[in-house]
């Protein structure tokens, strides 16, 4: 994957499939590091799944025998001098179930990749799971870009966030914020 935003899409899809109602996606940058966190209230992982998480030959799916999402993210983090950590509690073990993926990247490292189309990633996530409350926050030294699907849903009522007209509006809404960020 040649854009960081594709990693964000791929990792967040895990939270979607874990049956989360609420997913927080956070990118925080300073002049040296990019900190990436995805936090969900999905079903979480069992101890066995957690132990095998970084093993690419372990996957819960049945259509193929490898799972590369987390190994890819870990590789990129470590290649750029950063790290990856995961905490999770399974629905059978705790009422506060869910998963937190945290990864740190050296953004000036030669092996880091461009951020890419974060707006495309968010539109794709919302299109696929319009009922989930995604909360997005991207903070840089110039300011921040935010999105709250719950807030938008409050306005929309029974109109789905997945409707093309709404997705287009969300895209414009984010684009405007990113343009403001770049002009600061």
């Amino acid at each position: 994957m040649d854009e960081f935003s594709l990693y964000v899409l791929d990792i967040t899809m895990n939270s979607v499939r874990a049956g989360a109602d609420k997913i927080n996606i956070e990118l925080i940058e300073d002049d040296e590091w990019l900190l990436f966190t995805v936090r969900d209230d999905g079903c979480g992982m069992t101890k066995e799944q957690l132990a095998n998480l970084e093993n690419p030959f372990f996957t819960t799916r049945t259509t193929r025998k490898v799972g590369l999402g987390i190994p890819f993210l870990k590789m990129l983090a470590e290649m750029t001098g950063g790290e990856l950590s995961i905490t999770s509690s399974h629905i059978s073990e705790s009422e506060e179930h869910g998963t937190v993926i945290f990864a740190k990247f050296g953004k000036n490292h030669i092996d880091f990749i461009p951020l890419g189309d974060m707006i495309g990633t968010l539109k794709t996530l919302i299109q696929g799971a319009p009922d989930i409350d995604f909360v997005y926050r991207h903070k840089t030294e110039n300011g921040e870009v935010t999105l709250s699907c719950a807030e938008i849903r409050e306005v929309l009522g029974d109109v789905s966030l997945g409707e093309p007209e709404i997705l287009a509006w969300i895209g414009d809404y984010l684009l405007e914020q990113y343009e403001g960020l770049n002009n600061n």
Binding site: R61, R64, K123, T124, Q127, E151, D158, V159, E163, A168
Partner: protein, 123 residues
């Protein structure tokens, strides 16, 4: 500035349409969005279908959805088209440009584009 007020106006325009859409939905376009699909370029393909269907005014009969890995990772991005009458059509190695073509010729025109299907690849 974009505001939530603006959303209210869009909502008002849309409400009638949405009721209609839920009633039909005869054609389904399914885009594979697992790690394999994403790495191969499925995101722009999905967005091209979402926007293309809306632009062509097909929203009442056509639904664009996402799925996980269907097991043919080497042919990603993979798109399956289900229509009421025909058999399922599986497109492989899709691009945003091809997505527009599929909307034009297959979804609107009713003729699947054989050269982009999995059948054409295996020959």
């Amino acid at each position: 500035m974009k505001s939530l007020e603006e959303l209210k106006a869009i909502k008002a325009q849309m409400q009638n349409k949405v009721v209609l859409r839920k009633a039909s939905g005869e054609t389904r376009i399914v885009v594979g969005m697992a790690t394999c699909g994403i790495a191969a370029g499925a995101r722009p393909v999905l967005n091209a279908f979402v926007e293309g269907v809306a632009e062509a005014g097909l929203g009442e009969n056509v639904i664009v959805t996402q799925t996980g890995c269907i097991g043919i990772c080497q042919y990603e991005p993979v798109v399956e088209v289900y229509t009421k009458d025909e058999e399922k059509v599986t497109y492989v190695k899709m691009t945003a440009e091809r997505a527009k073509e599929v909307i034009e010729k297959h979804i609107k025109g009713g003729k699947p584009i054989a050269e982009y299907t999995i059948g054409a690849l295996k020959k």
